[in-house]
Protein backbone atom coordinates (compact mmCIF):
# COMPACT_ATOMS: atom_id res chain seq x y z
CA UNK A 1 0.00 0.00 0.00
CA UNK A 2 1.24 3.47 -0.86
CA UNK A 3 0.51 6.64 0.99
CA UNK A 4 0.48 9.68 -1.25
CA UNK A 5 0.58 12.97 0.60
CA UNK A 6 -0.41 16.01 -1.45
CA UNK A 7 0.52 19.22 0.28
CA UNK A 8 -2.35 21.39 -0.83
CA UNK A 9 -4.36 23.84 1.31
CA UNK A 10 -7.88 22.66 2.10
CA UNK A 11 -9.48 25.47 0.12
CA UNK A 12 -7.86 24.19 -3.08
CA UNK A 13 -8.43 20.52 -2.47
CA UNK A 14 -11.93 20.27 -3.92
CA UNK A 15 -10.74 21.50 -7.31
CA UNK A 16 -7.76 19.17 -7.21
CA UNK A 17 -9.96 16.23 -6.21
CA UNK A 18 -12.38 16.71 -9.07
CA UNK A 19 -9.86 17.67 -11.74
CA UNK A 20 -6.96 15.40 -10.90
CA UNK A 21 -7.76 12.63 -8.42
CA UNK A 22 -11.15 11.59 -9.83
CA UNK A 23 -10.17 11.24 -13.51
CA UNK A 24 -6.72 9.84 -12.80
CA UNK A 25 -7.68 7.27 -10.24
CA UNK A 26 -10.91 6.22 -11.95
CA UNK A 27 -8.79 5.39 -14.98
CA UNK A 28 -6.24 3.52 -12.87
CA UNK A 29 -9.08 1.52 -11.30
CA UNK A 30 -10.49 0.72 -14.73
CA UNK A 31 -7.15 -0.41 -16.11
CA UNK A 32 -6.48 -2.49 -13.01
CA UNK A 33 -3.31 -0.68 -11.99
CA UNK A 34 -4.82 -0.01 -8.59
CA UNK A 35 -7.42 -2.07 -6.70
CA UNK A 36 -8.78 0.66 -4.45
CA UNK A 37 -7.96 3.99 -2.90
CA UNK A 38 -9.06 5.99 0.11
CA UNK A 39 -8.63 9.69 0.59
CA UNK A 40 -8.78 11.87 3.64
CA UNK A 41 -8.66 15.62 3.73
CA UNK A 42 -6.71 17.62 6.30
CA UNK A 43 -6.24 21.40 6.53
CA UNK A 44 -2.92 21.59 4.67
CA UNK A 45 -2.63 18.24 3.03
CA UNK A 46 -4.62 15.49 1.43
CA UNK A 47 -3.66 11.89 2.03
CA UNK A 48 -4.38 9.19 -0.46
CA UNK A 49 -3.94 5.53 0.46
CA UNK A 50 -3.60 3.45 -2.66
CA UNK A 51 -3.48 -0.30 -3.18
CA UNK A 52 -1.42 -0.80 -6.31
CA UNK A 53 -1.25 -3.90 -8.45
CA UNK A 54 1.67 -2.57 -10.52
CA UNK A 55 5.29 -2.26 -9.42
CA UNK A 56 5.46 0.58 -6.95
CA UNK A 57 8.41 2.29 -8.64
CA UNK A 58 6.64 2.41 -12.00
CA UNK A 59 3.45 3.58 -10.37
CA UNK A 60 5.23 6.27 -8.34
CA UNK A 61 6.90 7.74 -11.42
CA UNK A 62 3.70 7.59 -13.42
CA UNK A 63 1.65 9.38 -10.77
CA UNK A 64 4.36 11.95 -10.06
CA UNK A 65 4.55 12.84 -13.73
CA UNK A 66 0.79 13.17 -14.07
CA UNK A 67 0.60 15.28 -10.94
CA UNK A 68 3.43 17.52 -12.14
CA UNK A 69 1.68 18.04 -15.48
CA UNK A 70 -1.58 18.91 -13.77
CA UNK A 71 0.11 21.24 -11.33
CA UNK A 72 1.92 23.05 -14.16
CA UNK A 73 -1.31 23.44 -16.11
CA UNK A 74 -3.00 24.94 -13.05
CA UNK A 75 0.08 26.58 -11.58
CA UNK A 76 -1.41 30.05 -11.55
CA UNK A 77 -4.45 28.87 -9.64
CA UNK A 78 -2.51 27.00 -6.98
CA UNK A 79 0.28 29.55 -6.71
CA UNK A 80 -2.14 32.40 -6.38
CA UNK A 81 -4.45 30.63 -4.01
CA UNK A 82 -2.58 31.43 -0.84
CA UNK A 83 0.84 32.62 -1.77
CA UNK A 84 2.43 32.43 1.66
CA UNK A 85 1.20 28.94 2.36
CA UNK A 86 2.11 27.66 -1.06
CA UNK A 87 5.59 29.17 -0.87
CA UNK A 88 6.14 27.63 2.53
CA UNK A 89 5.02 24.27 1.24
CA UNK A 90 7.28 24.59 -1.78
CA UNK A 91 10.23 25.19 0.45
CA UNK A 92 9.27 22.32 2.67
CA UNK A 93 8.45 19.85 -0.08
CA UNK A 94 10.24 20.95 -3.22
CA UNK A 95 9.16 17.92 -5.23
CA UNK A 96 5.95 19.44 -6.46
CA UNK A 97 3.96 19.10 -3.24
CA UNK A 98 3.89 15.33 -3.26
CA UNK A 99 5.42 12.75 -0.97
CA UNK A 100 4.99 9.03 -1.54
CA UNK A 101 5.46 6.60 1.32
CA UNK A 102 5.50 2.84 0.95
CA UNK A 103 3.89 0.60 3.55
CA UNK A 104 4.76 -3.05 3.45
CA UNK A 105 2.18 -4.43 5.79
CA UNK A 106 -1.45 -3.39 5.84
CA UNK A 107 -4.26 -5.16 7.64
CA UNK A 108 -6.67 -5.64 4.77
CA UNK A 109 -9.40 -6.89 7.10
CA UNK A 110 -9.63 -3.35 8.43
CA UNK A 111 -13.01 -2.13 7.15
CA UNK A 112 -11.61 1.33 6.56
CA UNK A 113 -9.37 -0.09 3.88
CA UNK A 114 -11.56 -2.75 2.41
CA UNK A 115 -14.86 -0.88 2.50
CA UNK A 116 -13.57 1.97 0.40
CA UNK A 117 -16.12 4.51 -0.74
CA UNK A 118 -13.74 7.12 -2.06
CA UNK A 119 -14.74 6.89 -5.67
CA UNK A 120 -18.42 7.16 -4.77
CA UNK A 121 -17.69 10.17 -2.58
CA UNK A 122 -15.82 11.83 -5.42
CA UNK A 123 -18.92 11.44 -7.58
CA UNK A 124 -21.03 12.86 -4.77
CA UNK A 125 -18.59 15.72 -4.32
CA UNK A 126 -19.08 16.54 -7.98
CA UNK A 127 -22.87 16.59 -7.47
CA UNK A 128 -22.49 18.81 -4.44
CA UNK A 129 -20.28 21.25 -6.33
CA UNK A 130 -22.68 21.27 -9.27
CA UNK A 131 -25.55 21.99 -6.90
CA UNK A 132 -23.45 24.66 -5.18
CA UNK A 133 -23.72 22.77 -1.92
CA UNK A 134 -27.49 23.09 -1.82
CA UNK A 135 -28.44 22.73 1.84
CA UNK A 136 -31.39 20.38 1.31
CA UNK A 137 -29.26 18.16 -0.90
CA UNK A 138 -26.55 17.98 1.77
CA UNK A 139 -29.16 17.28 4.43
CA UNK A 140 -30.50 14.33 2.45
CA UNK A 141 -27.00 13.02 1.87
CA UNK A 142 -26.14 13.04 5.59
CA UNK A 143 -29.53 11.48 6.38
CA UNK A 144 -28.80 8.68 3.90
CA UNK A 145 -25.37 8.13 5.38
CA UNK A 146 -26.75 7.91 8.92
CA UNK A 147 -29.34 5.39 7.73
CA UNK A 148 -26.55 3.20 6.36
CA UNK A 149 -24.61 3.36 9.60
CA UNK A 150 -27.45 1.42 11.19
CA UNK A 151 -30.00 4.12 11.86
CA UNK A 152 -32.89 1.79 11.28
CA UNK A 153 -35.19 3.26 13.93
CA UNK A 154 -35.98 6.91 14.68
CA UNK A 155 -34.55 6.65 18.15
CA UNK A 156 -31.32 5.21 16.80
CA UNK A 157 -31.07 8.10 14.33
CA UNK A 158 -31.40 10.47 17.21
CA UNK A 159 -28.80 8.71 19.30
CA UNK A 160 -26.38 8.59 16.39
CA UNK A 161 -26.94 12.21 15.43
CA UNK A 162 -26.50 13.32 19.04
CA UNK A 163 -23.34 11.28 19.38
CA UNK A 164 -21.86 12.77 16.24
CA UNK A 165 -22.94 16.25 17.23
CA UNK A 166 -21.11 15.87 20.52
CA UNK A 167 -17.84 15.35 18.68
CA UNK A 168 -17.93 18.94 17.41
CA UNK A 169 -16.95 21.73 19.76
CA UNK A 170 -17.69 25.39 19.15
CA UNK A 171 -17.19 28.65 20.98
CA UNK A 172 -20.50 29.58 22.62
CA UNK A 173 -20.83 32.65 20.40
CA UNK A 174 -20.37 30.55 17.24
CA UNK A 175 -22.92 28.06 18.48
CA UNK A 176 -25.42 30.84 19.07
CA UNK A 177 -24.96 32.07 15.52
CA UNK A 178 -25.38 28.57 14.14
CA UNK A 179 -28.52 27.96 16.20
CA UNK A 180 -29.91 31.24 14.90
CA UNK A 181 -29.14 30.08 11.38
CA UNK A 182 -30.93 26.77 11.98
CA UNK A 183 -33.98 28.60 13.33
CA UNK A 184 -33.97 30.85 10.31
CA UNK A 185 -33.74 27.88 7.89
CA UNK A 186 -36.58 26.09 9.69
CA UNK A 187 -38.73 29.22 9.80
CA UNK A 188 -38.41 29.69 6.09
CA UNK A 189 -38.43 26.10 4.83
CA UNK A 190 -39.63 23.84 7.63
CA UNK A 191 -42.56 22.36 5.72
CA UNK A 192 -40.51 21.65 2.59
CA UNK A 193 -37.60 20.18 4.53
CA UNK A 194 -39.80 17.87 6.56
CA UNK A 195 -41.73 16.75 3.52
CA UNK A 196 -38.46 16.03 1.76
CA UNK A 197 -37.15 14.03 4.72
CA UNK A 198 -40.46 12.13 4.91
CA UNK A 199 -40.12 11.20 1.25
CA UNK A 200 -36.51 10.24 1.69
CA UNK A 201 -37.24 8.10 4.75
CA UNK A 202 -39.85 6.16 2.76
CA UNK A 203 -37.43 5.86 -0.14
CA UNK A 204 -34.69 4.54 2.14
CA UNK A 205 -37.06 2.11 3.80
CA UNK A 206 -38.43 0.75 0.56
CA UNK A 207 -37.43 -2.62 -0.78
CA UNK A 208 -34.50 -2.54 -3.07
CA UNK A 209 -35.91 -3.71 -6.37
CA UNK A 210 -33.23 -4.72 -8.79
CA UNK A 211 -35.52 -4.20 -11.77
CA UNK A 212 -36.27 -0.58 -11.00
CA UNK A 213 -33.80 2.17 -11.74
CA UNK A 214 -32.22 3.38 -8.51
CA UNK A 215 -32.75 6.98 -7.51
CA UNK A 216 -29.77 9.09 -6.55
CA UNK A 217 -30.21 8.47 -2.84
CA UNK A 218 -31.14 4.79 -3.09
CA UNK A 219 -27.99 4.29 -5.18
CA UNK A 220 -25.90 5.99 -2.52
CA UNK A 221 -27.67 4.01 0.18
CA UNK A 222 -26.72 0.72 -1.42
CA UNK A 223 -23.11 1.80 -1.80
CA UNK A 224 -22.83 3.10 1.74
CA UNK A 225 -24.65 0.01 3.00
CA UNK A 226 -21.49 -1.93 2.25
CA UNK A 227 -19.70 0.02 4.95
CA UNK A 228 -21.30 -1.88 7.77
CA UNK A 229 -22.16 -5.09 5.98
CA UNK A 230 -20.93 -8.11 7.94
CA UNK A 231 -18.71 -5.95 10.11
CA UNK A 232 -19.25 -6.58 13.76
CA UNK A 233 -17.54 -3.61 15.33
CA UNK A 234 -18.20 -0.27 13.74
CA UNK A 235 -16.64 2.95 14.92
CA UNK A 236 -19.42 5.24 13.76
CA UNK A 237 -17.61 8.40 14.81
CA UNK A 238 -14.51 7.53 12.83
CA UNK A 239 -16.48 6.48 9.74
CA UNK A 240 -18.52 9.65 9.88
CA UNK A 241 -15.38 11.77 10.30
CA UNK A 242 -13.95 10.22 7.16
CA UNK A 243 -17.19 10.81 5.28
CA UNK A 244 -17.25 14.48 6.29
CA UNK A 245 -13.63 15.02 5.37
CA UNK A 246 -14.04 13.39 1.99
CA UNK A 247 -16.97 15.63 1.14
CA UNK A 248 -15.44 18.75 2.66
CA UNK A 249 -18.33 19.40 4.99
CA UNK A 250 -17.39 22.03 7.52
CA UNK A 251 -18.12 21.67 11.23
CA UNK A 252 -20.74 24.39 10.93
CA UNK A 253 -22.57 22.62 8.09
CA UNK A 254 -22.59 19.31 9.91
CA UNK A 255 -23.78 20.97 13.09
CA UNK A 256 -26.73 22.59 11.32
CA UNK A 257 -27.62 19.45 9.38
CA UNK A 258 -27.48 17.21 12.45
CA UNK A 259 -29.54 19.67 14.46
CA UNK A 260 -32.26 19.68 11.80
CA UNK A 261 -32.29 15.86 11.66
CA UNK A 262 -32.63 15.71 15.43
CA UNK A 263 -35.38 18.31 15.34
CA UNK A 264 -37.20 16.32 12.64
CA UNK A 265 -37.24 13.09 14.61
CA UNK A 266 -37.98 14.69 17.94
CA UNK A 267 -41.05 16.40 16.53
CA UNK A 268 -42.19 13.51 14.39
CA UNK A 269 -41.90 10.80 16.98
CA UNK A 270 -42.28 12.99 20.09
CA UNK A 271 -39.09 11.67 21.62
CA UNK A 272 -37.93 13.62 24.58
CA UNK A 273 -34.23 13.38 24.17
CA UNK A 274 -33.05 15.52 27.05
Amino acid sequence: MLELIFFIPKEAQKKMMLEFIKPTFSELLNTGEISSFVYTSYPKRLILEVFTTEENQVFNEQISTKWKQYLQSEYEYFAAFKMTEVQTLFREFPQDYIKILEHEHVDESDPFYTKDTSLLNLEILECLVENEYDFEYSLCLVFTYLYCLGGYAPKIYLEQSKELLNTIEFFPSTKEKLNAEVTSILNENEKEIKERLDELFIELNAFHELESAPTTFSKWKLSYGMLTNNTEIIDITLLFEKFRNQLFFSDAEIYMISTIIINYFEEKYCYNFV
Partner: protein
Protein backbone atom coordinates in the same frame (compact mmCIF):
# COMPACT_ATOMS: atom_id res chain seq x y z
CA UNK B 1 -46.18 8.28 7.55
CA UNK B 2 -46.85 4.82 6.20
CA UNK B 3 -43.89 2.72 5.25
CA UNK B 4 -44.09 0.55 2.22
CA UNK B 5 -43.40 -2.80 3.82
CA UNK B 6 -45.96 -4.33 6.10
CA UNK B 7 -44.49 -6.76 8.61
CA UNK B 8 -46.43 -9.64 10.20
CA UNK B 9 -45.25 -11.42 13.32
CA UNK B 10 -46.80 -14.88 13.40
CA UNK B 11 -47.22 -16.87 16.60
CA UNK B 12 -48.80 -20.24 17.23
CA UNK B 13 -49.89 -21.29 20.69
CA UNK B 14 -50.97 -24.68 21.90
CA UNK B 15 -51.24 -24.37 25.66
CA UNK B 16 -48.51 -21.69 25.80
CA UNK B 17 -50.54 -18.96 27.43
CA UNK B 18 -48.04 -18.78 30.28
CA UNK B 19 -45.37 -17.74 27.76
CA UNK B 20 -47.61 -15.38 25.81
CA UNK B 21 -48.51 -13.54 29.01
CA UNK B 22 -44.81 -12.74 29.41
CA UNK B 23 -43.96 -11.91 25.83
CA UNK B 24 -46.83 -10.74 23.64
CA UNK B 25 -47.67 -7.35 25.13
CA UNK B 26 -44.00 -6.48 25.47
CA UNK B 27 -43.38 -7.47 21.85
CA UNK B 28 -46.27 -5.33 20.63
CA UNK B 29 -45.26 -2.31 22.70
CA UNK B 30 -41.62 -2.62 21.65
CA UNK B 31 -42.58 -2.41 17.99
CA UNK B 32 -45.74 -0.34 17.90
CA UNK B 33 -43.81 2.74 16.71
CA UNK B 34 -43.37 1.06 13.36
CA UNK B 35 -46.87 1.65 12.16
CA UNK B 36 -47.25 -0.94 9.46
CA UNK B 37 -47.23 -4.15 11.47
CA UNK B 38 -49.57 -6.88 12.65
CA UNK B 39 -49.26 -9.66 15.20
CA UNK B 40 -51.07 -12.77 14.03
CA UNK B 41 -51.85 -15.16 16.85
CA UNK B 42 -53.17 -18.65 16.13
CA UNK B 43 -54.70 -20.65 18.94
CA UNK B 44 -53.92 -24.20 17.82
CA UNK B 45 -56.69 -25.86 19.84
CA UNK B 46 -55.38 -24.91 23.27
CA UNK B 47 -56.91 -26.12 26.51
CA UNK B 48 -55.80 -23.06 28.42
CA UNK B 49 -57.58 -19.77 28.86
CA UNK B 50 -56.11 -18.03 25.84
CA UNK B 51 -59.40 -16.82 24.37
CA UNK B 52 -60.59 -15.02 27.44
CA UNK B 53 -57.11 -13.59 28.03
CA UNK B 54 -57.00 -12.13 24.54
CA UNK B 55 -60.59 -10.88 24.85
CA UNK B 56 -60.11 -9.20 28.17
CA UNK B 57 -56.48 -8.15 28.28
CA UNK B 58 -55.62 -7.47 24.65
CA UNK B 59 -58.84 -5.90 23.41
CA UNK B 60 -57.12 -2.58 22.89
CA UNK B 61 -54.73 -4.16 20.38
CA UNK B 62 -57.54 -6.03 18.63
CA UNK B 63 -59.47 -2.79 18.28
CA UNK B 64 -56.38 -1.08 16.87
CA UNK B 65 -56.09 -3.86 14.32
CA UNK B 66 -52.52 -4.54 15.33
CA UNK B 67 -53.42 -7.96 16.76
CA UNK B 68 -55.24 -10.57 14.68
CA UNK B 69 -56.52 -13.58 16.58
CA UNK B 70 -57.47 -16.86 14.94
CA UNK B 71 -58.40 -20.20 16.39
CA UNK B 72 -58.78 -23.76 15.23
CA UNK B 73 -60.23 -26.67 17.17
CA UNK B 74 -59.29 -29.34 14.64
CA UNK B 75 -55.77 -30.47 15.63
CA UNK B 76 -55.57 -32.82 18.57
CA UNK B 77 -51.82 -32.64 18.82
CA UNK B 78 -49.19 -30.10 17.88
CA UNK B 79 -47.80 -30.23 14.37
CA UNK B 80 -44.98 -27.73 14.20
CA UNK B 81 -44.70 -27.31 10.43
CA UNK B 82 -48.43 -27.33 9.72
CA UNK B 83 -49.25 -24.84 12.50
CA UNK B 84 -46.61 -22.41 11.30
CA UNK B 85 -47.76 -22.73 7.72
CA UNK B 86 -51.32 -21.96 8.75
CA UNK B 87 -50.45 -18.83 10.70
CA UNK B 88 -47.98 -17.54 8.11
CA UNK B 89 -50.54 -17.98 5.33
CA UNK B 90 -53.02 -15.98 7.40
CA UNK B 91 -50.57 -13.08 7.65
CA UNK B 92 -51.11 -10.16 5.30
CA UNK B 93 -47.68 -8.55 5.51
CA UNK B 94 -45.11 -8.06 2.75
CA UNK B 95 -42.62 -9.60 5.17
CA UNK B 96 -43.69 -12.38 7.53
CA UNK B 97 -41.80 -13.43 10.60
CA UNK B 98 -42.16 -16.58 12.68
CA UNK B 99 -42.24 -15.60 16.33
CA UNK B 100 -42.24 -18.42 18.89
CA UNK B 101 -44.42 -17.78 21.94
CA UNK B 102 -41.37 -17.72 24.22
CA UNK B 103 -39.42 -15.19 22.16
CA UNK B 104 -38.90 -11.47 22.74
CA UNK B 105 -38.54 -9.37 19.60
CA UNK B 106 -36.67 -6.48 21.18
CA UNK B 107 -37.16 -2.76 20.75
CA UNK B 108 -37.64 -1.68 17.13
CA UNK B 109 -37.02 -5.10 15.63
CA UNK B 110 -39.64 -4.25 12.98
CA UNK B 111 -37.59 -1.24 11.87
CA UNK B 112 -34.51 -3.45 11.79
CA UNK B 113 -36.22 -6.01 9.56
CA UNK B 114 -37.32 -3.34 7.15
CA UNK B 115 -33.85 -1.79 7.19
CA UNK B 116 -32.25 -5.09 6.24
CA UNK B 117 -34.73 -5.77 3.45
CA UNK B 118 -34.30 -2.25 2.10
CA UNK B 119 -30.71 -3.02 1.07
CA UNK B 120 -31.66 -6.16 -0.76
CA UNK B 121 -35.06 -7.66 -1.38
CA UNK B 122 -33.46 -11.02 -2.11
CA UNK B 123 -32.76 -12.05 1.43
CA UNK B 124 -34.29 -13.78 4.41
CA UNK B 125 -33.33 -13.00 7.97
CA UNK B 126 -32.61 -15.50 10.73
CA UNK B 127 -31.09 -15.47 14.16
CA UNK B 128 -27.36 -16.21 14.19
CA UNK B 129 -27.69 -18.20 17.39
CA UNK B 130 -28.47 -21.89 17.87
CA UNK B 131 -30.68 -21.39 20.90
CA UNK B 132 -34.28 -20.48 21.69
CA UNK B 133 -34.23 -17.84 18.95
CA UNK B 134 -33.27 -20.29 16.19
CA UNK B 135 -36.76 -20.49 14.72
CA UNK B 136 -37.03 -16.74 14.12
CA UNK B 137 -37.18 -16.26 10.38
CA UNK B 138 -38.27 -13.17 8.47
CA UNK B 139 -39.02 -13.72 4.83
CA UNK B 140 -41.03 -12.01 2.11
CA UNK B 141 -44.43 -13.70 1.98
CA UNK B 142 -44.10 -14.27 -1.75
CA UNK B 143 -40.82 -16.13 -1.19
CA UNK B 144 -42.36 -18.23 1.60
CA UNK B 145 -45.27 -19.21 -0.63
CA UNK B 146 -42.94 -19.93 -3.54
CA UNK B 147 -41.12 -22.64 -1.58
CA UNK B 148 -44.43 -23.89 -0.11
CA UNK B 149 -43.49 -23.09 3.47
CA UNK B 150 -42.40 -25.61 6.05
CA UNK B 151 -42.42 -29.23 4.94
CA UNK B 152 -45.47 -30.80 6.57
CA UNK B 153 -43.92 -34.25 6.48
CA UNK B 154 -41.67 -32.90 9.23
CA UNK B 155 -44.10 -33.09 12.08
CA UNK B 156 -41.62 -33.27 14.92
CA UNK B 157 -39.25 -30.98 16.70
CA UNK B 158 -36.11 -29.73 14.99
CA UNK B 159 -34.68 -29.41 11.48
CA UNK B 160 -37.89 -28.07 9.96
CA UNK B 161 -36.29 -24.61 10.27
CA UNK B 162 -33.01 -25.74 8.75
CA UNK B 163 -34.91 -27.37 5.91
CA UNK B 164 -36.86 -24.18 5.19
CA UNK B 165 -33.70 -22.04 5.31
CA UNK B 166 -31.97 -24.48 3.01
CA UNK B 167 -34.76 -24.32 0.44
CA UNK B 168 -35.00 -20.51 0.63
CA UNK B 169 -31.25 -20.36 0.00
CA UNK B 170 -31.51 -22.76 -2.92
CA UNK B 171 -34.25 -20.59 -4.39
CA UNK B 172 -31.68 -17.80 -4.72
CA UNK B 173 -32.11 -15.84 -1.50
CA UNK B 174 -29.26 -14.79 0.74
CA UNK B 175 -29.50 -15.78 4.40
CA UNK B 176 -28.67 -12.70 6.47
CA UNK B 177 -28.14 -13.58 10.13
CA UNK B 178 -28.62 -11.07 12.91
CA UNK B 179 -26.67 -11.32 16.14
CA UNK B 180 -27.89 -8.18 17.88
CA UNK B 181 -28.28 -9.20 21.50
CA UNK B 182 -31.43 -7.08 21.95
CA UNK B 183 -33.28 -9.07 19.26
CA UNK B 184 -32.62 -12.64 20.38
CA UNK B 185 -33.97 -12.81 23.93
CA UNK B 186 -36.27 -15.66 24.90
CA UNK B 187 -37.65 -17.37 27.99
CA UNK B 188 -35.42 -20.21 29.10
CA UNK B 189 -37.20 -23.51 29.63
CA UNK B 190 -36.53 -27.22 29.39
CA UNK B 191 -36.34 -28.49 25.84
CA UNK B 192 -39.04 -31.04 26.68
CA UNK B 193 -41.52 -28.19 27.01
CA UNK B 194 -41.02 -27.48 23.33
CA UNK B 195 -42.62 -30.73 22.29
CA UNK B 196 -44.99 -31.62 25.11
CA UNK B 197 -48.07 -31.40 22.83
CA UNK B 198 -46.15 -32.79 19.89
CA UNK B 199 -47.95 -35.19 17.57
CA UNK B 200 -45.05 -37.66 17.79
CA UNK B 201 -44.78 -37.98 21.54
CA UNK B 202 -48.39 -37.60 22.67
CA UNK B 203 -49.70 -40.79 24.25
CA UNK B 204 -46.35 -42.43 24.99
CA UNK B 205 -46.98 -44.76 27.93
CA UNK B 206 -43.61 -46.47 28.25
CA UNK B 207 -40.21 -46.52 26.65
CA UNK B 208 -37.49 -49.15 26.47
CA UNK B 209 -33.90 -49.17 25.33
CA UNK B 210 -31.58 -51.92 24.24
CA UNK B 211 -27.94 -50.87 24.35
CA UNK B 212 -25.92 -52.64 21.71
CA UNK B 213 -22.69 -50.73 22.11
CA UNK B 214 -21.55 -47.31 23.27
CA UNK B 215 -22.75 -45.82 20.00
CA UNK B 216 -25.61 -48.12 18.93
CA UNK B 217 -29.00 -48.70 20.58
CA UNK B 218 -32.53 -49.79 19.79
CA UNK B 219 -35.46 -47.78 21.12
CA UNK B 220 -39.04 -48.91 21.68
CA UNK B 221 -41.87 -46.52 22.51
CA UNK B 222 -45.27 -47.91 23.56
CA UNK B 223 -48.38 -45.79 23.16
CA UNK B 224 -51.63 -45.79 25.13
CA UNK B 225 -53.62 -46.82 22.05
CA UNK B 226 -51.72 -50.11 21.70
CA UNK B 227 -49.33 -48.89 19.00
CA UNK B 228 -45.56 -48.69 19.13
CA UNK B 229 -42.60 -47.03 17.43
CA UNK B 230 -39.37 -48.94 17.13
CA UNK B 231 -36.00 -48.03 15.65
CA UNK B 232 -32.25 -48.39 15.72
CA UNK B 233 -30.19 -45.33 16.52
CA UNK B 234 -26.49 -44.67 16.28
CA UNK B 235 -23.88 -42.03 16.57
CA UNK B 236 -21.95 -42.01 13.28
CA UNK B 237 -18.70 -41.94 15.24
CA UNK B 238 -18.39 -43.47 18.66
CA UNK B 239 -16.75 -40.38 20.13
CA UNK B 240 -19.39 -37.95 18.88
CA UNK B 241 -21.79 -36.23 21.20
CA UNK B 242 -25.37 -37.44 21.59
CA UNK B 243 -26.56 -34.47 19.53
CA UNK B 244 -25.22 -36.27 16.47
CA UNK B 245 -27.40 -39.32 17.05
CA UNK B 246 -29.19 -40.55 13.95
CA UNK B 247 -31.91 -43.00 13.07
CA UNK B 248 -30.49 -45.93 11.10
CA UNK B 249 -33.69 -46.50 9.10
CA UNK B 250 -35.45 -43.65 7.29
CA UNK B 251 -38.44 -43.71 9.66
CA UNK B 252 -39.50 -45.27 12.93
CA UNK B 253 -40.99 -48.72 12.41
CA UNK B 254 -44.57 -48.94 13.67
CA UNK B 255 -47.18 -51.54 14.59
CA UNK B 256 -49.18 -52.83 17.52
CA UNK B 257 -47.96 -54.52 20.66
CA UNK B 258 -49.15 -57.05 23.21
CA UNK B 259 -47.68 -57.35 26.67
CA UNK B 260 -47.43 -61.06 27.31
CA UNK B 261 -46.09 -60.74 30.84
CA UNK B 262 -43.65 -58.52 32.72
CA UNK B 263 -40.73 -60.07 30.90
CA UNK B 264 -41.94 -60.14 27.29
CA UNK B 265 -43.64 -57.85 24.77
CA UNK B 266 -44.82 -59.06 21.42
CA UNK B 267 -44.54 -56.56 18.53
CA UNK B 268 -46.50 -56.91 15.30
CA UNK B 269 -45.05 -54.60 12.65
CA UNK B 270 -47.18 -53.08 9.92
CA UNK B 271 -45.62 -55.51 7.43
CA UNK B 272 -47.00 -58.38 9.59
CA UNK B 273 -43.62 -59.44 10.90
CA UNK B 274 -43.77 -60.20 14.60
CA UNK B 275 -41.02 -59.91 17.11
CA UNK B 276 -40.86 -60.97 20.72
CA UNK B 277 -38.63 -58.86 22.90
CA UNK B 278 -37.24 -59.66 26.30
CA UNK B 279 -37.48 -57.06 29.07
CA UNK B 280 -34.74 -56.95 31.68
CA UNK B 281 -35.61 -56.35 35.28
CA UNK B 282 -33.12 -53.52 35.91
CA UNK B 283 -33.97 -49.92 35.07
CA UNK B 284 -32.13 -48.12 32.31
CA UNK B 285 -29.61 -45.41 32.87
CA UNK B 286 -27.42 -43.82 30.25
CA UNK B 287 -24.47 -46.03 31.21
CA UNK B 288 -26.17 -49.40 31.32
CA UNK B 289 -25.06 -51.72 28.53
CA UNK B 290 -26.81 -55.02 27.84
CA UNK B 291 -26.44 -56.98 24.67
CA UNK B 292 -29.87 -58.48 24.24
CA UNK B 293 -32.57 -57.41 26.72
CA UNK B 294 -34.57 -54.20 26.58
CA UNK B 295 -34.62 -52.09 29.73
CA UNK B 296 -37.53 -49.90 30.74
CA UNK B 297 -36.57 -46.23 31.05
CA UNK B 298 -37.86 -44.56 34.19
CA UNK B 299 -35.39 -41.74 34.83
CA UNK B 300 -37.26 -38.53 33.94
CA UNK B 301 -34.25 -36.74 32.43
CA UNK B 302 -33.35 -39.75 30.33
CA UNK B 303 -36.99 -40.11 29.25
CA UNK B 304 -36.95 -36.51 28.11
CA UNK B 305 -33.83 -37.17 26.04
CA UNK B 306 -35.45 -40.18 24.38
CA UNK B 307 -38.66 -38.28 23.61
CA UNK B 308 -36.49 -35.63 21.97
CA UNK B 309 -35.00 -38.34 19.78
CA UNK B 310 -38.46 -39.70 19.02
CA UNK B 311 -39.72 -36.35 17.80
CA UNK B 312 -36.62 -35.13 16.02
CA UNK B 313 -34.86 -38.04 14.35
CA UNK B 314 -37.31 -38.55 11.49
CA UNK B 315 -37.07 -34.85 10.69
CA UNK B 316 -33.32 -35.08 10.78
CA UNK B 317 -33.25 -38.08 8.50
CA UNK B 318 -35.54 -36.41 5.99
CA UNK B 319 -33.48 -33.24 6.15
CA UNK B 320 -30.20 -35.05 5.58
CA UNK B 321 -31.30 -37.58 2.98
CA UNK B 322 -33.80 -36.01 0.71
CA UNK B 323 -33.78 -32.28 0.61
CA UNK B 324 -30.51 -31.34 -0.95
CA UNK B 325 -32.10 -31.03 -4.36
CA UNK B 326 -35.59 -29.79 -3.43
CA UNK B 327 -36.48 -26.12 -3.56
CA UNK B 328 -40.15 -26.49 -2.74
CA UNK B 329 -41.65 -28.57 0.02
CA UNK B 330 -43.54 -31.62 -1.23
CA UNK B 331 -46.62 -30.43 0.64
CA UNK B 332 -50.17 -31.37 -0.37
CA UNK B 333 -52.25 -28.91 -2.38
CA UNK B 334 -54.04 -27.75 0.75
CA UNK B 335 -50.84 -27.17 2.73
CA UNK B 336 -51.12 -24.80 5.65
CA UNK B 337 -54.88 -25.06 5.78
CA UNK B 338 -57.40 -26.02 8.43
CA UNK B 339 -60.77 -24.77 9.62
CA UNK B 340 -60.11 -21.38 11.13
CA UNK B 341 -62.26 -19.06 13.16
CA UNK B 342 -61.37 -15.38 12.92
CA UNK B 343 -61.80 -14.38 16.54
CA UNK B 344 -60.53 -10.82 15.99
CA UNK B 345 -63.67 -10.04 14.00
CA UNK B 346 -66.08 -11.76 16.36
CA UNK B 347 -64.41 -10.14 19.35
CA UNK B 348 -64.37 -6.74 17.71
CA UNK B 349 -68.03 -7.03 16.92
CA UNK B 350 -68.95 -7.91 20.52
Amino acid sequence: MKLKNKISFCTVSMNRLYHLKETLVRNIEDNIDYENIEFVLLDYNSNDDIKSWVTNDLKVYLDMGILKFYSTNIPETFHRSHSRNVVMKLATGDIICNLDADNYLGKDFAYFINYQFSFSGNIFLTSAFADGSTGRVCVKKDDFLAVKGYDERMSGWGFEDDDLYNRLTMSGLKNVKFNNSEFVEFIWHDVEESFENDINVTGVSAMYIQHKSSFQSTLLFLFQDGKFKYGNIEKPKAEEDAVNTELVEDTWQTGTFTKQNNAHISLTFTNDITKKIHIATTEATKNTVTQDAFIRVTDSIFKGRLLLLLTSLENKKLYKNKFASLQTAPNPENWGETIIQNLSKSLQSC
